[in-house]
């Protein structure tokens, strides 16, 4: 409990130094005696390493250490351990690491890379999912059966790294009904690069038998554990600390450069700095994955969705990585938003000889929402129903079943759609349009979640009346560590949020944490922090009650004082009580821990899933108006509106900033951020000239309404607010462009050439021949085996 509100527009304590150039990110850390490292990367997408000889490089000037596959015996992964640190014998993607060098200067390290003698025999490569799924395709992992399985329950085989399915109800019967229309839609999306401004960067040292890794990451504990596994050392030998991070967006939710620097530090006895070049970041960034999607629905003329089936193919690149986990999300994103009479979906992560993909803000959700919402508009058109009326009729409400049979609580999307109607109706009517452009608008809905899971916090009460919050949380830019967490602790203890010191992440100081991402910082770390602060509060109130001679229940903590309720100015200051408490029984502290609630799915519905049901759903309604130039194919976004389910907004102004930024990242995805892979297996966009991110001239101010009050197990009723703003941007823009042009939008991004092709009817209807016509033919696991109850 607390006696003062945690809601406030608290400013960021890190802003002033960031604005003065004084903040020291990982790339700004230069240690005395530090060496510089560089990584030798493969230049072919598939090949056999015939010879790798570092002896000449080792004699180059300034070289202090060289490490190769022999130095990193372990394998890592999510679900399956398929990923070594260095290519061993076999190269699986262009850019795969072969060796790493540390030298006195970066130029010397790079010169030494050129002196490593490598002989590679090229092998046939599969560069697309269509190629990978051909019956005679060469296997990216011929030894896939031998890999250690870290999570049981999935079907795998050949180039299918992982398969997750959900089956609820009798879909065949639904599709066979005489009173339904069958609507089928296919979609394709490319990759998206995070373009975090701070590249992956690390400074590692090795002292007293332990590694100290200072790195730009979202997952300090993930780095600790994965580095240890790769190096074959106990995880307790790895300490990870994290300076301010210059942008994450999911890119830094996985290990990248850390083990190279750790190995080189141990081998050289010197601190080692390794920073990816921008080109390395562009070519090997753990992109948002490209995906191919087919979705079919059986819908009555009245507008009920009685059956739905889908196949989603997600390109994981050369190693499974996050995509293994993300196959889970299809059931909750493509299977979200709407009431479904029956449903079956399969989500498959496919190996290709391309750079591994990874996590990116609303991973999986962004393109599945695009597909779902475009499909929804095609359904509405087919049955002749207004698309908004169709949505109002079908959105998930209180006690409705989700795709995996979980029971949703509360009417949230319905009232959010009404809120959007109000916003839209209040807007000034658009000016007369006679410029020859095509105008369109769309309203889309989206379902996302909070990636809960374990977090720990310790709150140390200091005798000076301040509190120190110790967690493994990282400030990646979203502000959660600077705003919501100190707000939660401060309101519980009745002190100013400026008096809550926030300790930067250090795995030696704070307990396990899943990481900063998935909208979980305010929720999971916040819940642990709240619980720790409440323990401190209870202890202080007990001491205060003796000092003030009043029952603890009659006391309140506010304004830096512990007072008798209703008697402002009575009692003592928090500092006095903390000092007294420390003298009586030693320093006061509290600890907190949190993990998910474990909302159940319907038994037997899912297979190969990491999350069967979502503990905290997060909903979003977006509305977008566009103008399309028929001469150039250029799409201009004229207005953008967001109604976002936030549970409770602790810092409304900070959330508005997240929404504006997330929408703009989504506009880049929707309109011009395009990644292509050449016939040589290499990503074609190697810098800012060829990869076009949104500029100040591209964007519009987003009109925002925060929807509060939806049920949440988050602390103080919160939900994650920073991840979800990107969720339905691709959907909203695509639906608006389809409405403006009357053309079938099946792919993103909507670059001018792609839009022009649509307008000129030069676009062939998207055919996904690598998705079998019968849904069951897309499964490795036999349908009966998987879901026989």
């Amino acid at each position: 409990m607390s006696d003062v509100s945690a809601t406030m527009d608290l400013r960021r304590r890190d802003a002033a130094d960031k604005l003065r150039g004084r903040t020291r990110y990982t790339i700004d850390r230069y240690l005395p005696g530090m060496l510089h490292a560089a990584v030798l990367r493969a230049g072919v997408p598939a090949g056999r390493i015939m010879r790798l000889d570092t002896s000449r490089a080792a004699r180059m000037p300034g070289v202090r250490a060289i490490v190769t596959a022999a130095d990193a015996p372990g394998m890592i992964g999510i679900g399956i351990a398929d990923h070594p640190l260095f290519a061993r014998d076999v190269i699986r993607y262009d850019g795969e690491p072969l060796a790493a060098v540390a030298a006195v200067t970066l130029a010397q390290a790079q010169a030494a890379l050129a002196a490593i003698d490598v002989e590679i025999e090229p092998l046939p490569a599969v560069l697309t999912m269509a190629d990978a799924l051909k019956p005679d395709a060469s296997l990216v992992h011929p030894d896939w059966r031998s890999y250690e399985v870290l999570l049981e329950g999935s079907a795998r085989g050949g180039n299918v790294a992982w398969e997750a399915t959900v089956v609820r109800g009798d879909v065949d019967a639904a599709f066979a009904r005489p009173d339904v229309e069958i609507v089928e839609s296919c979609f394709r999306v490319g990759r998206q690069n995070h373009v975090a401004f701070e590249p992956r960067a690390v400074v590692a040292s090795y002292e007293d038998g332990r590694f100290h890794i200072e790195t730009s990451t979202q997952v300090p504990w993930g780095i600790r554990n994965a580095t240890a596994r790769l190096l074959g050392v106990p995880a307790s030998q790895v300490r990870v600390t994290v300076p301010p991070v210059g942008g994450g967006f999911g890119l830094k939710f996985d290990l990248a450069v850390e083990p190279f620097a750790a190995l080189l530090a141990r081998a050289s006895g010197r601190p080692v700095r390794l920073v990816n070049s921008r080109e390395e970041e562009m070519l090997t960034c753990l992109f948002r994955e490209n995906a191919d999607i087919r979705i079919r629905s059986a819908v009555t003329r009245e507008g009920d969705i009685v059956g739905r089936e889908a196949v989603v193919l997600m390109d994981c690149g050369a190693y499974g990585g996050e995509q293994i986990f993300l196959t889970t999300m299809t059931a909750h994103t493509l299977g979200g938003n709407y009431k479904l009479g029956s449903v079956r979906m399969v989500s498959r992560a496919i190996y290709t000889n391309t750079a591994p993909n990874g996590a990116f803000r609303c991973c999986n959700g962004v393109y599945n929402t695009f597909a779902l919402e475009r499909h929804t508009d095609e359904i509405a058109a087919r049955i002749g129903m207004d698309p908004l009326a169709f949505r109002r009729r079908n959105v998930l409400g209180d006690k409705d079943l989700g795709a995996t049979g979980q029971i949703f609580e509360g009417d949230v999307l319905g009232p959010m759609l009404e809120r959007m109607d109000t916003l839209r109706d209040a807007a000034a009517p658009p000016p007369a349009r006679s410029d020859g452009r095509l105008y369109g608008r769309a309203t889309t809905v989206g379902t996302w979640f909070v990636f809960v899971g374990p977090s720990a916090a310790t709150v140390n009460m200091n005798a000076d009346g301040t509190a120190t919050l110790v967690t493994s949380g990282v400030e990646i830019g979203s502000g959660s560590m600077m705003q919501s967490l100190p707000q939660i602790v401060a309101s519980t203890l009745g002190i100013a949020p400026e008096h809550v010191v926030v300790r930067a992440a250090d795995t030696d100081a704070a307990g396990y944490d899943v990481g900063v991402g998935g909208g979980r910082t305010t929720v999971s770390l916040g819940a642990a922090s709240l619980s720790g602060a409440q323990e401190v509060r209870t202890k202080l109130l007990k001491v205060a009650s003796e000092m003030i001679e009043a029952a603890p229940d009659d006391l309140v903590m506010r304004g830096g004082r512990i007072e008798i309720a209703g008697a402002p100015g009575s009692g003592r200051t928090v500092m006095e009580v903390a000092t007294r408490a420390q003298a009586l029984g030693g320093p006061v502290s509290g600890t907190g821990a949190f993990t998910g609630a474990g909302v159940p799915a319907m038994p037997g519905c899912v297979a190969g899933h990491f999350i069967d049901a979502i503990d905290i759903p997060v909903f979003a309604v977006h509305d977008c108006e566009v103008a399309v130039d028929p001469e150039t194919g250029h799409v201009e976004v004229l207005s953008y509106r967001v109604v976002q389910d936030v549970g409770r907004a602790l810092n409304p102004r900070a959330i508005h900033g997240q929404i504006q930024g997330g929408v703009v990242q989504g506009l880049g995805y929707a309109l011009h951020e395009e990644v292509t892979i050449g016939s040589n297996g290499r990503v074609c966009q190697n810098g800012f000239e060829t990869y076009r991110v949104p500029l100040a001239l591209d964007v519009v101010p987003v009109e925002i309404s925060l929807y509060e009050g939806a049920p949440s197990i988050g602390p103080l009723g919160t939900k994650g607010a920073g991840e979800v703003p990107i969720l339905n941007v691709g959907a909203a823009v695509a639906c608006a462009v389809a409405n403006a042009t009357g053309k079938r939008v099946q792919a993103l991004p909507l670059t001018p050439p792609r839009v022009l092709e649509l307008l000129l009817d030069r676009t062939q209807d998207l055919a996904l021949s690598h998705i079998a016509d019968a849904w069951t033919d897309n499964l490795i696991r036999s349908y009966q085996t998987a879901h026989d109850k």
Partner: protein
């Protein structure tokens, strides 16, 4: 060999290779890590500095060509412990997120404030074409600049 730079009023000498990008000399020799080498191609603006008062991406300028010219980095825009007009406006507007682009933003906008006191919202957007931000979606930055112009 060697050349002299005047950085934030201090006269400093460097023995770096003449073609070394200015940003590397500033960061690695002079410990001025405010300028960020993000793209190293002159597109992103995160390494922007003022050279004789003109915003210049320091990744594209060979350090020796700055010999004898006045360089101002983000660290030198306000007296120690204070914020200049645009820094204060950005701080009060809660504009900052990850912060990597802001040293360059602040340099460009400090220049805009002195040279274009009548700048409109569109002028500000145009002036930021060479300063990319991946976090904020720009609106707060534009608003803060208008605020700073209004409080001149």
């Amino acid at each position: 060999m060697g050349f002299n730079l005047t950085v934030n009023g201090d006269r400093l000498s460097s023995a770096a290779e003449p073609a070394t990008p200015l940003v590397d000399v500033l960061r690695e020799e002079m410990h001025l890590t405010g300028a960020k080498p993000v793209c190293r191609e002159g597109f992103c603006g995160a390494c922007m500095v003022l050279v004789d008062g003109e915003p210049t991406p320091s990744c594209l300028l060979p350090a020796a060509l700055a010999d004898g010219r006045e360089i101002q980095t983000v660290e030198g825009l306000a007296p120690l412990g204070q914020l200049n007009r645009i820094q204060a406006a950005l701080e009060v507007s809660d504009a900052v997120q990850c912060g990597m682009c802001f040293p360059g933003m602040v340099v460009s906008l400090t220049h805009l404030l002195t040279t274009r006191p009548d700048a409109t919202s569109d002028d500000i957007r145009a002036a930021l074409t060479g300063n990319i931000c991946r976090c904020t979606g720009y609106e707060r930055i534009v608003e803060a600049t208008l605020l700073a112009l209004a409080t001149a």
